[in-house]
Amino acid sequence: MVLATGVLPGCGAADATIVFPEQGAVATGSRRGEGREVVLVRPFADQRHEDRCGMKKNGYGSPIAKIFCSGDARSSLENLLVSELRGAGFKVLRDRAQAGPSTIILVGTLEKLFVEPDLNYFTSAYEADVALKLSARTTTGLWAERHFYVKGVEATVTGSDQDIQRSFDSGIRQMVTSVVGAVANLAEEIPIVPSAGEAP
């Protein structure tokens, strides 16, 4: 029974694939955007040190299988951020050239996206770390930077692929929510400059 408990969190030594959650699964319901313009410059830079999205480990902490992302992780995250910024009321422009003096231009760097089990002697959990660095600029010269780091956690007994997916979903939801909130707060600091002849 001890051996079974020790290896149970790592059982299922086959590689696993995780998918990014649907836009509806990360929707916050916020409308703080209020029509403010945003441009998300794509693609994000990729500073991850891993070519995989996670690992499975046995009871001794040794990697036994890989976890891969379905599709390109960067573009999937970009799509989610764009869709949720729109859902939050931001006007997401497609082209940086369309940016006005009040438009927030976001440039991102994906620094980490990894799922790993945290195994203890009697309990375990899957943890999904997501790290993103955002640089925000305007055509009027504003330049701001910010690091985001979130951890999605799903306590587990069996370490199933469903638990891996849930931890990943949690991490992505937290990242999207954090970014939308931060951009909304930054937008409050930037005055809305109407175009010439346009009423404010």
């Binding site: 990697p63 375990s124 306590a155």
Partner: protein
């Protein structure tokens, strides 16, 4: 108890992810302003300079030049920038900020007016729900192990003085495995309690709350 907690807390080290306690050091609580925006140049309206040789003394010219002429020669002025009303100063939000605070220090009514705050809270509750389920299952497993251990030890103890040597050996083994199973059960119960007592990481929620509602707008770090 301390040994049990040590067994519960220590385990296999993380290879890529970081410890939860390190998360705040990897997060910026607010935007770091590297460069502030440059003010838009104002457009001057040409209304006739007081020292113009054509107009002569300024006061006399001001009385004689008709408003229509002034309007024709005046260049269009740019509309002034509009300062957005901070979210925390909206009437509904101001009212919600007066409500009693919850265990995280956030006014309870604020979750209803700020969906982003509610989203952070839902995430914490979702993690807590999974944790409690695992804790409950672990404790039940520990109790089951304890019951099996009690049975094995009691059977072993009752046959320790059996005249049959083989029976005495078996009784000894039953006691041995019963003790091991009991220790495992105890560990499971302690582990389950530790998991149930742990809490979700409030960093994302508290970071958002402080930045949106508490952080003072320092002119030195303002984006304006």
């Amino acid at each position: 108890m301390s040994l049990g907690a040590l067994l519960v807390s220590d385990g296999c080290a993380r290879l890529v992810t970081i410890n939860p306690g390190e998360i705040p050091s990897h997060n910026d609580p607010t935007w770091k302003i590297r460069q502030t925006a440059q003010p838009e140049p104002r457009t001057k309206a040409a209304t006739g300079a007081p020292d113009s040789p054509v107009t002569g003394p300024g006061a006399a010219v001001a009385e004689t030049v008709p408003p229509a002429a002034t309007a024709v020669i005046a260049a269009p002025t740019a509309s002034p920038p509009v300062e957005p009303l901070p979210f925390r100063k909206r009437p509904a939000v101001l009212k919600a900020l007066q409500s009693p605070a919850d265990g995280l220090g956030v006014p309870e009514d604020l979750y209803a007016v700020d969906p982003l705050l509610a989203a952070h809270r839902r995430e914490m509750e979702s993690q807590a729900s999974a944790r409690h389920s695992v804790a409950g299952g672990t404790i039940v497993l520990g109790l089951l192990c304890g019951a099996i251990a009690y049975w094995a030890i009691s059977v072993g103890a009752s046959h320790q003085n059996d005249p049959n040597e083989s029976s005495r050996n078996s009784a000894g083994q039953a006691i041995f495995w019963g003790v091991l199973t009991g220790a495992l059960g105890l560990g499971e119960i302690i582990g389950g309690i530790a998991v149930a007592a742990s809490s979700s990481d409030p960093t994302p929620l508290q970071t958002y709350y402080r930045e949106t509602y508490l952080a003072p707008r320092d002119p030195g770090t303002s984006a304006k």
